[in-house]
């Protein structure tokens, strides 16, 4: 599925300072029944966001109009649990393009990169600074610079660099995906396949 190219993103951010946010919270299983990728953003954090009778929970951050932006900032070990790519779809479809945390679960990180969300892993200290900056000013902006692999708190100028492998970086900046790459090497794959013992 095609996604928008990612280069530099300057935006305010939505803070979610909870650890171990798992994929069952990001998108509960009962919303996985679609056969198309549509409408997942509506059910992002469904059970934290809405009461049983579908009224919004006022104390949840997505229901607080003072916070907005294309960057979601989460606590340590974000995205643990299931392999459901629906979690990443829900985040993307809601309007986020970047998730910042001090630690990501592996599969979530891979799924995000595959659909055009940039996971930015920062140090626990820098994560605290981001939360403090947003607490001081809900409109505080972050600037995520993919070509330079850096993230900056605009108001204070403090910044940190982050890791991403060169291949994925190139893909995100150009809106390419792995399927295009693999299609181009089918001959090589079929030669490999004939050698397999299974």
């Amino acid at each position: 599925m095609a996604y928008d190219k990612f280069t530099i993103l300057k935006s305010s951010a939505v803070p979610l300072p909870i650890e171990n946010v798992d994929t069952d919270q990001i998108i509960p299983a009962r919303f996985l029944k679609a056969t198309k990728r549509e409408g997942f953003g509506d059910n992002l954090f469904r059970d934290w966001r809405y009461n049983g009778d579908d009224t919004p929970k006022q104390d949840f951050v997505l229901n607080n109009p003072i916070y907005s932006g294309k960057i979601l900032v989460g606590g340590h070990n974000f995205g643990s649990g299931s392999s459901r790519e629906h979690a990443a779809w829900a985040i993307y479809d809601y309007g986020f393009r970047c998730v910042v945390s001090s630690f990501f679960a592996d599969i979530f990180k891979g799924n995000s990169l595959n659909i055009g969300i940039l996971p930015v892993q920062v140090s626990p200290e820098f994560l605290d600074k981001i939360f403090q900056a947003i607490e001081a000013d809900p409109n505080a902006e972050l600037e995520v610079n993919l070509p330079e692999q850096s993230i900056q708190i605009v108001a204070t100028g403090e910044s940190e660099s982050f890791d991403i492998n060169g291949y994925k970086k190139h893909n995100l900046m150009n809106g390419f995906d792995d399927i295009d790459y693999l299609q181009a090497m089918k001959q090589e794959i079929s030669e490999f396949e004939t050698e397999r013992i299974y």
Binding site: D22, D24, A29, T35, R84, E85, I179, L182, Q183
Partner: protein
């Protein structure tokens, strides 16, 4: 060829790299691909929109499990959305020539139960599925892990995915397990020590005499839960127990092919002196029957211990308080004697024949507690048939339990098997996240023995008491 000592994981991984990308992932070949109704439809849509086909349909296997009812499977599926997903799996499989074991098929069941029991899962293979508990198949010395839907599309269209090679970890458990301590307790114990993020970035090999002496069912339970400590997967070197399990299964190699495969499988072990990035050692004697008290699988402890205080656990106090608050528990409380409402035995973690044997060993001659609703759900039709053949069904019926039909059921509560809000369930599944078993449901993860003890007493009970009485 270097003569450097290598690990089991290295041997299998390196044999599947089609191409190495500089400063990028490996192009990684997949021998076996399992699909189910939930994470595959969008992948098939992707193929259509790109106008590409399935490269090796014979390497993919479809089974319906996540969304299926566990009663009246002969009737049309009532929920239209579920019915639609099941239909999509069937249509897509048919269209691309993929073998499909749908609802009602004699070999249908949970994907991670049917793969091994039909001999589709073999040592030295690479196996993926759009489901994180694909790690189960690592019990056979395969590299097996969960993938997202974009990757499902990659495997369908090119039989490869792009994967950076994970780091290596070995977890050793040696000694003798005590009475009432099962493979589930071993895995819950390891996760409680490593935490839910402790193995993130690693692929785990389990080693030591506890695993060597374990049945294949037990090894599958352990590898299944590797993902719960963040690991991509876990594996155990194949040995005589593995070969005996595979021999004669429907799709296992036969005759000359068997001999050739066996010779290869015997090379699949970690060489003496091979180095891991991280290594842990645990003593079997320290492991008790386990139970979880919080909202992630790392929040578990010996059943006789009291709930820790926030300063005894890693992570922030706010997150810990939120978790206990959701569970309705308090620091320093004992878990024993807590009233429970539901018991679920099943899932790809503990839905195999050995698990029902264990459950029955405690239930036998006792009665289900009146305050407990129990869902007894086999992992597959083959397991269901075994339960009947071995007389376990009679024991269950006598004690007031009903056997349901196979599927994922209350493990993720996508079908009607939902634990109501606020209720407590002792569950043999793998995740106790908030709402995992239904909105507001409170899950206590445990072994089949602990589940059985709770089912007959109505409260959290140490199974060793009932085993000693018997």
């Amino acid at each position: 060829m270097s003569n450097q000592a290598s690990t089991l994981f290295d041997k299998v991984w390196d044999a599947h790299v089609v191409r190495k990308i500089a400063d990028g992932p490996d192009v990684f070949f997949i021998d076996r691909h399992f699909i189910h109704e939930v994470t595959s439809p969008v992948a098939f849509l992707g193929l259509e929109s790109r106008n590409i086909g399935v490269m090796y349909p014979e390497r993919t296997f479809a089974t319906a499990d996540h969304n299926t009812p566990t009663i009246n499977q002969h009737l049309p599926v009532a929920d239209p959305l579920s019915a639609n997903q099941l239909k999509a799996l069937e249509t897509n499989s048919l269209k691309y020539g993929i073998s499909h074991w749908g609802l009602g098929h004699a070999r249908n069941g949970i994907v991670h139960v049917v793969g091994p029991e039909n001999g589709i899962t073999l040592p030295g293979m690479t196996i993926v599925c759009g489901d994180s508990h694909t790690s189960t198949h690592g019990a056979f010395g395969a590299i097996a892990f969960g993938i997202g839907t974009s990757e499902v599309e990659m495997v369908l269209s090119s039989q490869c995915i792009m994967q950076p090679k994970p780091k290596k970890m070995r977890v050793n458990v040696n000694g003798k397990l005590g009475l009432g301590v099962t493979p589930k307790d071993v895995t819950l114990y390891i996760i409680s020590k490593l935490t839910t993020a402790g193995a993130t970035g690693y692929f785990v090999e389990y080693a030591g005499d506890v695993f060597e002496n374990m049945s294949m069912e037990g090894r599958m339970t352990v590898c299944n839960m590797s993902i719960e400590m963040g690991a991509r997967g876990g594996m155990i070197a194949p040995d005589e127990t593995t070969f005996a399990y595979i021999n004669g299964r429907e799709q296992a190699p036969k005759g000359e092919k068997w001999d050739k495969a066996l010779a290869y499988w015997k090379t699949l072990k970690t060489d003496e002196g091979a180095v891991f990035d991280k290594e842990y050692h645990f003593d079997a004697a320290d492991i008790e029957p386990m139970i979880t008290y919080g909202t992630n699988p790392g929040m578990g402890q010996g059943i006789s211990k009291s709930i820790p205080t926030s300063d005894q656990v890693e992570g922030g106090k706010a997150t810990y308080d939120k978790s206990l608050n959701y569970m309705g528990f308090h620091e320093n409380e004992s878990m024993l004697g807590k009233k429970i409402d539901y018991v679920f035995i099943g899932s790809c973690t503990n839905g195999r024949i050995e698990d029902f044997r264990a459950f029955a060993s405690i239930v036998k001659g006792r009665k289900k507690a009146d305050n407990v609703t129990a869902w007894v759900v086999p992992g597959s039709h083959i397991v269901e048939a075994q339960i009947k053949e071995e007389g376990i069904l009679d024991i269950l019926t006598e004690a007031g339990f009903e056997l349901r039909q196979p599927g994922c059921s209350a493990c993720l509560a996508m079908n009607d098997d939902k634990i109501p809000a606020g209720k407590y369930a002792v569950s043999t599944s793998n995740r106790n996240f908030e709402g995992r078993q239904g909105p507001g449901a409170r899950t206590l993860l445990a072994s089949p023995l602990v589940a059985a003890a709770a089912a007959v007493t109505g409260v959290v009970t140490d199974p060793r008491e009932l085993l000693q009485e018997a």
